[in-house]
Amino acid sequence: MKGQLYFTAFKSILIKEIYRFTRIWVQTLVPPAITMSLYFVIFGNLIGSRIGEMGGVSYMSFIVPGLIMMSVITNSYSNVASSFYSAKFQRNVEELLVAPVPNHIMILGYIGGGVVRGLLVGLIVTCISQFFVTLQIHHLFILVVTVLLTSITFSLAGLINAIFAKSFDDISIIPTFVLTPLTYLGGVFYSISMLPDFWQGVSQLNPIVYMINAFRYGFLGVSDVSVWVSLLVICSFIAVFYSVAYYLVNKGIGLRS
């Protein structure tokens, strides 16, 4: 009985979240499509043709998985960060706080919204990439699991950011100063095996390296790091981020006085 009530509550949050980002599709779905098209044209076609092969495949084929993952990461993160912070700002998060919605359900609902947007944008970018390169799928299971887990990881990170945020500036600081550099240095445009040993070691501290490589393995069958280690790293991040998010929501930090 309670399970049914909780499922209805989860569904309501999820539908609300999906409705939110599809209502403003010009702000949420179109920009990544345009940005990634430009990346494909400039880095893939124009510059990539002069680079030749990387990791045993054409440069264009090499960067496509990384660019898809980059849009999944950015969109999952920003969806939850902006939606949850906006709910705090407009105080409509109180609608959930006064309702008999367990904290786990509230977190899952928002994460679900972030995952759906992340995957939808990932799918759009994948479709666009087909104009530039014919993608083959090497390992569908690894591909799907990696993109799903990565999307969950960054949705959770976005939620934690929104819980702490006190202004709209606070939800753009992390994406600008942390997320973007980590993504660019996470092996989207190059193989980390090209780096000197020291920087290869440093790169292995960057979680996005594991995500991009596992995803690239799903498409191309090539990876700089072990796929299973990558999945373990992503799962560990999910466990840590979820625990932190649950602790914060449970304590009412930034939500209850």
Partner: protein, 304 residues
Amino acid sequence: MLNAIEIKNLIKIYKDGNTALKGISLTVKQGDFYALLGPNGAGKSTTIGILSSLVNKTSGEVKIFGDDIDTHLEDAKRHIGLVPQEFNFNQFEAVEQILVNQAGYYGLPRKEAWQRAEICLKQLDLWDKRKQQSRTLSGGMKRRLMIARALMHQPKLLILDEPTAGVDIELRRSMWVFLQQLNKEGITIVLTTHYLEEAETLCRNIGIINQGELIENTSMKSLLARIAKETFVLDTSTLPEQLQLGPEFTRIDEHTLEVEVLKDEGLNATFAKLSELGVQVLSMRNKSNRLEELFVELVQQGSH
């Protein structure tokens, strides 16, 4: 009869050290129409915040229809419909969407939620506005939207934090009628208000909070019975300069007098005296709301 609200020794100390509630205990019976009054910053909204889980209590016990918020929070929440003081819905969502989502949070399936939304929107006269974004509604409509939202899951207890603030007189009166109707249907209502006339008209019982303490918790009838004297303003014919009036009279200007009358004495003696002096009374009114006078008196006593 079951108590709708039972609060025992409720204390709230905010992180900045401000003690908002200093051990409040009160009970609201099922079916009651209860007013919680107090000056700004007295602790009314903190009390309501704790009842509705928006504020964490420091200590004390709170039960809603027997469900303790420490041990049965979800059940306690299910009994409550909250109409907060400030608008707290998504300004960009359509009116009907806000209601349907809210019902979903309480576990109402989508189809039933749409049916319930139609009923609530029609009740609150918002049916024509159902497709509009909530930010485009007028202030009065937004307030009605919050009431409609609070009623979506058919709560047994409706808590309204200053529901008629900033609402014009006509709408305020129609909201009174609506709230009275809900109360007749069996919903327990607790409201805070700054309009004491509102509390006097609607509520059977009253609690007055001042500086985090409950200084009164009684029936409206017995509270009003304690008012010993009332002040009336009399509009009169021109008052001669040398007119000698008793100490109960205060001359405001040459056409206006104020008179204090003990409640059990009545006004006949006053009129007789003025007739004797040749003063004609053209009209009269209460100086201020009776409850307001008592409220100010009680709060001032409590402050000393």
